[in-house]
Subunit: 197 residues, 2 copies
DNA sequence: CCATCGTGAGACGTTGATGTCTCACATGGT
DNA sequence: ACCATGTGAGACATCAACGTCTCACGATGG
């Protein structure tokens, strides 16, 4: 009986802690467990009760990032309509998770080897599939590989997230900046072709 | 007398250590001083004689990155010819330093506040000035701010550097991938271009 | 009213990296 | 041969973060 109540409360707290940790670690990737705890408004002991250690916390954040990514991928309905519009929807859906993704993106670069969560590969595949679809539909240029476009999307998301938190670009322009730069580059430019070289 | 010889030798060694450290830290940003020393083929003691501590080492790497950036900026002659060609030259010149820049780029995101080296602002300004020049010449679109384009360039450089080291894209395509994506997005779209030519 | 449980505070011991030190050794110049 | 100097190896103390533990408090449910 009480089990239900407690597990419910813990689930709520767990999510709150996760959110605060994401917000803090996004700004200061080297934040200590003590700082994470204080940022979440709890003690270090409680933090340790919910996440066995820093690794567990980071892996939980990774799981959160993956689930948010997949939610965004679903919401964007990548298979519908023009690929460019699908990409625009994707970036728009990804925006709230951008800061967290930026943290996880660099966190993965921090260590060598150390096989990464399989979830990322599936996400990579879905994003790459979108670009491939755009290429096969004659919508995107074919000299930029889907793999590179995927990587570039991550990079631009991270750059934009940082630029926003440091006030170098306005938060409102977030989606526009990324989409326009990415698609403008990925979109085949038919009219310009005749002029190039 | 002997001072000359020793200082000369130390200068050579210092540069070599710096290069190896850059190569290692690029792959594993959390590498220990011991690993850095071994990677450079020297003992930890000697490493410590040349760089007072980890901070000093990172700051030396920062100085190296800044100087390489400025060398690339000079070599690219950003004020000559079309801005798009200048940007292409810039990326090409920046390529050898890309991995180091990727390391320093994330290193700066790792800490909050902590005023960054003034050298970066000057570099930012020069790059942003290039994009601004392209906009004023009617070559680049004006809805993407020079500041964002600068930030995006850094992000793409880092993404490409990582993608290359992890074998996701071919090293030979490095410049092409970045330039085509960046410029394709930055270049103003066709209709206006027709009138001009 | 009492029992239970989560929590905060804090005291540990442990680990890993760091910075400092000494000393023996090899090299190179005198 | 002699001396000086840079180097490698390793010992040593220090420090910060971690993980574990205990204990008292407050709240909640029976």
């Amino acid at each position: 009986m009480s089990h239900m109540v407690y597990s419910c409360l813990m689930a709520v707290d767990r999510d709150h802690v996760l959110r605060s940790a994401a917000a803090l670690l996004t700004r200061k990737a080297t934040a200590t467990m003590d700082e994470v705890a204080k940022a979440a408004g709890i003690s270090r002991a409680t933090l340790h009760r919910q996440f066995a250690g820093r690794d567990a916390l980071v892996r939980a954040l990774e799981a959160l990032g993956i689930s948010e990514c997949e939610a965004a991928l679903d919401a964007a309905a990548l298979d519908d309509g023009p690929a460019s519009e699908a990409a625009r929807r994707l970036v728009h859906e990804l925006q709230p998770a951008a800061a967290l993704l930026a943290f996880l993106y660099t966190e993965n670069q921090l260590f060598e080897g150390e096989e990464q969560n399989a979830g990322w590969s599936r996400i990579d595949d879905r994003v790459a599939a979108l670009f491939r679809r755009g290429q096969e539909a004659g919508e995107f240029r074919i000299d930029l590989t889907p793999g590179w476009l995927t990587e570039a999307l991550y990079g631009l998301l991270a750059s934009a997230a940082w630029a926003v938190t440091e006030g170098r670009v306005a938060r409102n322009d977030f989606t526009h900046m990324i989409v326009e730069l990415l698609l403008g580059g990925a979109l085949r430019r038919d009219e310009t072709r005749r002029e190039e070289s």
